[in-house]
Amino acid sequence: MIIYRSSLCQSSKPRNSLSVAARILHPSKHPTIQGGILILTTLVGVCNYSLLAMEHGSFQDQSASTFSLTDEDHTLANSLRFTLNQDPRVTFCGYSIPHPSDARVNIRVQTTGDPASEVLKDACQDLMLMCQHVRSTFDEAVADFKNAQALKDMDIKH
């Protein structure tokens, strides 16, 4: 389980899941969610302080959902939008930060039929793989550069 520094949370009080949900799902504020049945899955089992991620969608059609992630911003959401857009199963995706003083992003995913949560998970997986590759390539490049530098320094001493 991930425990966040309390100083980063806006409030250290336990958040009421229903009130949070009501705020996000209010139709006038959130026109992308149609009036159908809304499910609310608090995806974290035991977490006293904050709901870290929520999925808003309907039972009938799981191919379109909005994911609400707390304590995230453009850093993750924009990267995820990129990897989601690269996935041919995605028909639409986008993200928004409802209010700048709320540490929260909403990521909207609509797919050609697969469950949106699965597609989002795959996008995260893709992003992780890309990061790992970036890291290994970078480490290699730095090691090469350092070796070349060391060789150069030795030549000077000769």
């Binding site: 453009h74 993750l76 857009n85 490049a141």
Partner: protein, 374 residues
Amino acid sequence: MTKVSIWDLPDVPKGQLPPHLELQRTRVICNSDAPTHTENIQYSGAYASMGVDHSLQFDHFRKKFRVEVIRLTEDDMEFDMIGIDASLANAFRRILIAELATMAIEKVLIANNTSVIQDEVLAHRLGLVPIKVDPRLFDYMSENDVPNEKNTIVFKLHVQCERGGPRLTVKSDELKWLPNGSQFLLGTGHSTSTSNSTSKPKTYTSFSCRQDYLPEFSNNPIAPEHPDIIIAKLGPGQEIELEAHAVKGMGKTHAKWSPVATAWYRMLPEVVLLQEVEDEKAEELIKKCPVNVFDIEDIANGKKRATVARPRACTLCRECIRGEGWDKFVAIRRVRDHFIFTIESTGALPPEVLFTEAVKILEDKCERVITELS
């Protein structure tokens, strides 16, 4: 114009984009008035009608992605990141600035300050002093934690300017590390408990052992990164006595916890001569460029020709395409997936370590989302 039957027109080539679209996809075009085609095309099906798959294949990314280190010193580095989308490059930049941990002075206990600098200004100045210590060796201090040797570094600063002497400049080397924690005793309310001589007197920290006995600090004592940062100036007879407690934090809480002085990237400039620029025209072009991007080379029979010698130096000032007709000769573009990344570290960690840590943080974020969705 004569009528041509649609069936006589050549087919749109399948499998590859026509040159003008390929240019728009891979370059930002800088015109003399404004840049065009600045937005990235991310959608995988954007070119489906032309039979081009725009989705990103991981193998393809692995093949194309390259890193080239240009410069690497103790506290700054420049490298080229080629074959990556701007959203990822920007994510790394944002994490470097705002989400990497460092140690910075957070609490300042002032026992005496008779200098002209107010307590709060002094505390703020102290907070911005970079400290040379690996933050990975420390824990975050949350609200109900007591300051201990795993989450707090204590510095002492006690300077006095002699009466009748010259004025004194207090620099950051006066911040002395107290490996045993705070030396200020807690208020009188607790003094009764200190009367039993066996227990340690209660101070503002509760260290269970000395920090300099820990193996990671025994050979490299903790100190400010630079010894010559001016903290305050004292007149004769003035004195500052304080204790500064540094804790772990992140740049998004306050910029003093940012481990980089700055981290930034720019896209690689591309300068293209659309047609030969010769003789006087070439001389004129070289004079137009303030950063010497162009060179002149001699070709046969005493003729001269302009060449693009240093495209990286281009600042995209667009001086060379100003004036009538110049945009027919020169085109300035930026390569969309080639980033010249610069990291300037404040000294706590070397820049290459900062970058790998930043990438790890993005990985952790993904992992967090995956675990929470399943």
